[in-house]
Subunit: 407 residues, 2 copies
């Protein structure tokens, strides 16, 4: 059995009926903060993410990354005995979280109205693509679907080509963080004498939240300006963009105070005073020229590293666009635990992103184990709910409980 | 004076020395949850974001979006009297948050060691691009710099072209949410008898957190597979990507269960059984053909709306890639409050993203006002710190306090 890490959520119990990514992100953070997370999975395969790559010895690294530190309870939630177990857990949990399509949890018998009747102090959180109500709420809940509707997807890509989308689950992960934040504040409210409540978290809200400028600027100009994507150079700041060195791309950012430093770095100090380029507005107006001047200098450098070194000497904000291998093996990322080696009994050592929250009062990146499907059936029903061994055994025989140690 | 909204953080005081985006995002969420947020700004211009567009009547909508519901205290933090005021506030605050470059807050006299001496129960949070220590920590803290180092930027864009970056502050906003979450859990810990602590939150961690697959898959294959960007079609699922209709792009997603539905929607039901395309693996192998088949059908439709309607009839996950104007005016977004009209005394009505967290126990999207620079100097010093009027007036005369009602 996992020992729960000593951390801020010790003593809190989370009933976790989430799958794949946004929900499991929220409960993963809570598990890393010491909560007792009971992950409910369904026979015969459990969380869909158990089928996602990479695999070794029957185990999915995708699953492991999202579910370390959680107990796995695998049951048939459509059987009356399965529902009874869920009700017993709701009665004893502090948090109940799910990310089914809106309506499903109610049809299973666990809508907020039903849940609050069982346990008025519980914090229930539903995560969906578009929220629990409204005309879009019935749409399928994939990250990219919400990204497209939020306007974020349309803000990515070259201006004269199609939009582009990140090959990473940014929206799901970010929404999971939003959910974890909401749950934390709702628990804080409860700890100070408040009641439980229901949290309705969506990918659409989380993505739209990221428009720090676009929506208000469109609105402030009464629609005269509609911000849109501008590829690998910013439409409103110049130079701010990606330049191609011989062995990779470099991101260079020069707000007004950095322009003279760029001019020095590229060996053209006289340009700092050149009246054609001495304000950001003028540089944006002559963006093609300015970008061309910087790119010509980059072309003459031996490598992206040489470009970075020259720019950093003049304190110009810049960065190499790292590949995954470079991120995974970067000394800073490894030293900070931004990327960490996780040991799993079936996978061995695997690199994964670290716990993103650093607390001075607790150890960072604590060791935790992921579970085989249904590995904690007996523990959850026996130790937590007090069912006797014969009853647990019967539930197994009847097919209400399920387990697969080969996962 | 703002009435604080009735919400989960009533009774908590936040000393906010953040600027522009990631830090103000965290404290904005806290202000919307009813915390008393005292935003410290510096003369003569205050938060840099007061200079960011759009502007009307001297006020920045960028500033308003991030700072509604906060008190503005404008003082010279380098003057001894300014430092004394900050110390007095630290002594009376529950949370202290800053997002200067690492090292700056210490040189101002407010490192965690100094802060905890003044108030051992305070939760202090620092936000930076790369964390407070380590070889990258001295690099400038722009969103895109951290995005490039995290490997996320390299995962966006066409495979044979440069990377692309979103024209939205996704990393800053997301990091602000990470910070708010950490603060909430640290307050919860304190509420249960724990001490204050220090939180070290970074854009690098938040961005890297979003690699749900890339790092582990690179690691699981011992470097044989290095995930990289694949433009507007996914490299591992087909069809999953963007298709160009006559008046806009449509995102279409078909995992294995949806492939027959796609075939029906495009009027080619026989393709569902076609042995060339009957598994995702085969479709990925023949991606150009499969994408071509779907695109030909899209070409024949009258509009993106017609494409969506036909796909939705067969329950194929799909979405229009909305423009900002379409997001801003979308009935679902408006009804849910994902986009809301904010009333500001100088801006009038402006559309902005809504509060992304929905709590059943409290009103969503509560009315709050943004402050002119230094508008709450007298309130903060008089009402909260108990300074008498003569002392406050003298601090103004000496230039320790500053205000500009024209902001």
């Amino acid at each position: 059995m996992n020992a729960l890490p000593k951390h801020v959520l010790n003593g809190y119990r989370v009933l976790d009926m989430t799958h794949v990514l946004a929900g499991p992100t929220a409960t993963r953070l809570m598990a890393e903060m010491g909560a007792e997370v009971i992950k409910v999975e369904f026979p015969p395969l459990g969380d869909v993410s158990r089928g996602l790559p990479g695999h070794r010895n029957g185990r999915s690294a995708y699953y492991v990354q999202q579910n370390r530190g959680k107990y796995s309870l695998c049951l048939n939630v459509k059987a009356p005995e399965g529902k009874a177990i869920i009700r017993d857990l709701i009665a004893r949990a502090d948090v109940f979280i799910e990310n089914f399509a809106p309506g499903v949890i109610g049809r299973l018998g666990f809508s907020w109205d039903e849940v609050r009747t069982i346990n008025p102090n519980i914090v229930m959180c539903s995560i969906s693509a578009f929220g629990q109500q409204g005309q879009l709420s019935a749409l399928p809940g994939f990250d990219y679907i919400a990204q497209a509707y939020s306007g974020i997807m349309g803000m990515i890509g070259e201006p004269d080509g199609p939009p582009s989308f990140p090959m990473a689950g940014i929206g799901d992960v970010m929404t999971g963080v939003h959910a974890a934040a909401a749950i934390g504040f709702a628990l804080l409210h409860r700890e100070r004498g408040g009641e439980g409540q229901y949290l309705d978290i969506s990918l659409l809200d989380a993505y739209t939240h990221c428009h720090e400028l676009n929506i208000q600027y469109y609105s402030m100009t009464d629609g005269a300006v509609e911000p849109t994507r501008s590829g690998h150079h910013h439409f409103a700041v110049c130079p701010l963009g990606l330049f191609e060195a011989r062995d990779g791309y470099v991101c260079i950012i020069a707000l007004q105070p950095q322009w003279p430093a760029v001019c020095r770095a590229i060996g053209r100090p006289e340009l700092a005073e050149d009246p054609r380029y001495d304000t950001n507005e003028k540089r944006v107006g002559a963006a093609e020229e300015v970008i061309g001047i910087v790119q010509s200098w980059v072309d003459a450098q031996a490598s992206a590293g040489a470009v970075i070194a020259a720019l950093e000497r003049e304190r110009v904000p810049c960065a190499p666009v790292l590949k995954i291998s470079e991120v995974a093996n970067h000394p800073h990322m490894r030293a900070r635990g931004t990327v960490r080696a996780v040991h799993d009994e079936k996978l061995g050592e695997v690199l994964m992103p670290g716990m993103p929250l650093h607390f001075s009062g607790f150890e960072h990146n604590q060791p935790l184990s992921a579970a085989a499907l249904g590995e904690h059936n007996a523990f959850v029903l026996g130790e937590l709910l007090g069912y006797d061994a014969a009853r647990i055994s019967a539930l197994g025989t009847e097919g209400v409980l399920f387990e697969n140690p080969e996962t």
